[in-house]
């Protein structure tokens, strides 16, 4: 699904990722953990193609394609979805209209027929239940006046509708209470399947209680420094990131 090799990337000339290598297979759920400033969000944004985030060397292959060569909208249409850490507000643009436009541009790209208003509404209603969003939500402007939790749930709702092949969650758990956390995790679990891969980026282990990863990676100073199974997350929670930093210091001695 996704193959990242020796990736160097940064923002405004500042190098943040320093030789990151990661392989995500189809149907796998990977968690990327790491202290603040380790490059977690940079990774998410480079993969999604946010302007200003520039890859200087290395390769990213997604389903056999050179991902870095594609503009952001092409990546999205190819099935890459980024649940944002800070979803923006778009005043005056109807939430449901926005999502319909998005879905149909993805479907068109993938050679599927575009959905008409009725078909789309049916799909949207179904997926809304998943994240426990009220229908009144559909007619509000995109993220405008949404609470932090509502914004995050809206991201997961969009993800459920767009049905991406690779979903990247950039600190979706930050600022969520336990109930919201559970809802978000359920939404992701509903997506995770043989055909879908998920990359969960998080600072804390708590989301991983509800959303069980196949692999856990620790990111520090722009590189994956440790990989393991779900037990690695628990170990990290107990020992803290100093443990990793300590190990790194030992290794470099």
């Amino acid at each position: 699904m996704l193959d990242i090799k020796d990736l160097y990337a940064g923002i405004d000339g500042k190098e943040i990722l320093k030789g990151l290598t990661l392989h995500v297979g189809t149907g796998e759920v990977h968690a990327i953990m790491g202290p603040n400033g380790s490059g977690k969000s940079t990774l998410a944004n480079v993969l999604a193609g946010r302007p200003k985030y520039v890859a200087t060397s290395g390769t990213v292959t997604y389903q056999g394609k050179d991902l870095l060569a594609l503009p952001a909208e092409e990546r999205a249409r190819e099935g890459v979805f980024l649940a944002m850490q800070y979803p923006v507000e778009i005043p005056g643009v109807n939430n449901i209209y926005f999502l319909k436009a998005a879905l149909n541009s993805v479907r068109k790209h993938q050679g599927q027929e575009e959905l008409d208003a009725m078909e789309f509404l049916q799909l949207a209603r179904e997926k809304m239940k998943l994240v426990d969003l009220d229908e009144a939500f559909m007619n509000r402007s995109v993220n405008e006046g949404f609470s932090g939790g509502e914004k995050k749930r809206n991201e997961i709702f969009q993800m459920a509708v767009l049905d991406p092949k690779l979903a990247i969650l950039d600190e979706t758990d930050s600022g969520l209470d336990i109930d919201a956390l559970r809802i978000v995790a359920e939404g992701v679990n509903a997506l995770a399947s043989e055909k879908h891969s998920v990359l969960v980026i998080t600072h804390y282990q708590r989301l991983l209680k509800y959303l069980v990863p196949d692999f856990v990676h620790v990111l520090a100073d722009g590189r994956i420094v440790k990989s393991g199974g779900k037990e690695l997350a628990e170990e990290l929670e107990q020992k803290g990131y100093e443990w990793i930093e300590g190990e790194m210091a030992t290794a470099s001695r």
Binding site: A48, G49, R50, P51, K52, P71, A72, E73, R75, A76, R77, F81, L82, M84, Y86, P87, V88, I90, P91, G92, V93, N94, Y97, F98, L99, A101, A102, L103, S105, V106, H109, A117, S141, Q158, L162
Partner: protein
């Protein structure tokens, strides 16, 4: 990547730049009493009309061009402009079929073919081509309910009493430099009269089009809704490409008598000049309405054209319980400058006014909102709500807001909100990350921004308005 797309979208050149080759009957350049007499004679006007023009001209000679607006332009040589231009016509026309085919083709290019208008949209069109009306439709049907909808020249000939009574009653000939100039030299325009208690059965529409090079166009429009009458009027304009600046100074007067209602919608897309700021229309317009008891005036405008726009559609809320509304979208791109807004003058008791202004600046466009709300002593219980929002695309454009508020009655309630935002990289990226192209994203964001105003437009105009913003709504409304 996304920023280049904004620039690409913002740098699309004017699509309606073509010149129709029709022989024009044109006055020599210059402005003096002889020219005014010539205009009046060409139009076969009665003595009182000439007297009005001369009075205005003599007053104009004593006036100075205003300089307070936040716009910059070179000096206008009023003596270098020709003040009269009429397409040469052999005879008076009885039906559309007799209209010069080249003229018809011009309208067709603009997508406003008269027969389409007639057949499909049930809109009566009084097409003003340069300064003379060449075709008027639906007049007979309107006449059945007593509605008069004709060119201003015809009104002077056929309804002199109405014209005499209301001309200058809202915008006096002494009002301001440009309005006074218009009073002296106006060539044509539209006249509407809706009799007592009549709800006008269709939306009235006029397309103005400036065609002859170096011909200032001076429209004069007068709409009178008698007691209890209702009318919706649409004004739309596009002009062909020109190298030299063209002066345009129109005057629109609305009179809403007791319990009457007038809705006036404008889509203005005159030539804005090229990317370097050459050419383009200078648009100095005076639009004002007077509302009597329980009457309602509503201005809705979408201003995307002209090199310079100087325009403040206003309401004098004279009668008790009268209502004034102003909904505006103005877009400036390249080197366009707009100083626009409204005035709401509250005189009557319990008068209410609403102002919603949306300014979009792109390229090097400069935009100023200038609004004045005056609550006079007599206006017990008056209320005003003002909202002006600015949206910036890119970092070389500007938005300025000058709200003036004057309250002389302590029972007044005023609300004012203002905001400035930028189409951020973040918003664009958000849309793109969901699979929406940058161009569609900009269009979506801009239309979302304008939504409160667009929903005030009549349906067919709303469609045109979104087209004019160079974007398409594709059913996002509703």
């Amino acid at each position: 990547m996304s920023s280049t797309t904004i620039e690409q979208i913002a740098s699309q050149e004017y699509k309606y730049g073509f010149i129709t080759d029709i022989e024009a009957d044109q006055a020599p350049p210059g402005l003096n009493e002889d020219i005014i007499r010539l205009i009046s004679a060409k139009k076969n006007e009665p003595e009182w009309m000439l007297a009005f023009r001369l009075k205005a001209f003599r007053h104009w000679l004593t006036m100075k061009e205003p300089t307070w607006a936040n716009i910059k332009y070179g000096p206008i040589d009023y003596q270098a402009t020709s003040y009269y231009s009429a397409p040469k016509q052999k005879k008076k026309l009885n039906s559309l079929d007799e209209v010069d085919p080249e003229l018809r083709a011009t309208f067709a290019k603009l997508g406003i073919s008269l027969e389409e208008q007639k057949r499909l949209s049930n809109v009566a069109v009084d097409a003003v081509f340069d300064s003379v009306s060449v075709a008027t439709t639906f007049r007979t049907e309107l006449a059945k309910v007593g509605v008069i909808f004709c060119s201003f020249s015809d009104a002077v000939q056929n309804h002199p009493d109405l014209v005499k009574k209301y001309l200058g009653s809202v915008v006096p000939y002494t009002d301001n430099f440009f309005a006074t100039l218009n009073s002296a030299v106006f060539t044509d325009g539209s006249f509407c009269y809706i009799p007592k208690g009549v709800r006008c059965p269709m939306e009235l529409s006029t397309y103005f089009r400036i065609n002859s090079a170096n011909t200032g166009q001076f429209e004069r429009t007068l709409i009178v809704a008698d007691e209890g009458a209702t009318v919706s009027y649409l004004e739309g304009c596009t002009a062909p490409m020109r190298d030299e600046n063209q002066l345009h100074a129109a005057v629109v007067e609305l009179v809403a008598l007791d319990n009457a209602s007038i809705k006036y919608s404008t889509v203005q897309n005159w030539y804005p000049g090229d990317k370097e700021g050459r050419g383009g229309i200078y648009n100095f317009v005076t639009k004002r309405g007077k509302a009597f008891k329980n009457a309602k005036l509503s201005w809705t405008q979408v201003e995307t054209g002209s090199a310079i726009t100087w325009k403040y559609p206003s309401c004098i809320l004279q009668g008790d319980n009268s209502i004034g509304e102003f909904y505006s979208v103005a877009l400036t791109n390249h080197h366009q400058q707009a100083d626009t807004g409204t005035k709401m003058i509250h005189l009557g008791k319990n008068t209410r006014s609403t102002i919603v202004s949306k300014g979009i600046s792109a390229g090097r466009g400069q935009q100023t909102y200038r609004g004045e709300v005056k609550i006079m002593k007599s206006a017990e219980g008056a209320r005003n709500y003002s909202q002006c929002d600015s949206l910036l695309l890119g970092d070389k454009c500007g938005a300025h807001t000058f709200p003036y508020i004057e309250v002389r009655n302590s029972t007044a309630k005023m609300e004012h909100e203002a905001s400035t935002s930028k189409i951020g990289e973040d918003q664009l990226f958000y849309c793109q990350q969901r699979g929406i192209s940058a161009e569609d994203a900009v269009s979506m964001i801009v239309n979302g921004f304008c939504r409160e105003v667009f929903k005030e437009l009549p349906m067919e105009f709303a469609v045109e308005a979104t087209k004019l913003l160079g974007v398409s709504l594709e059913g996002s409304v509703g």
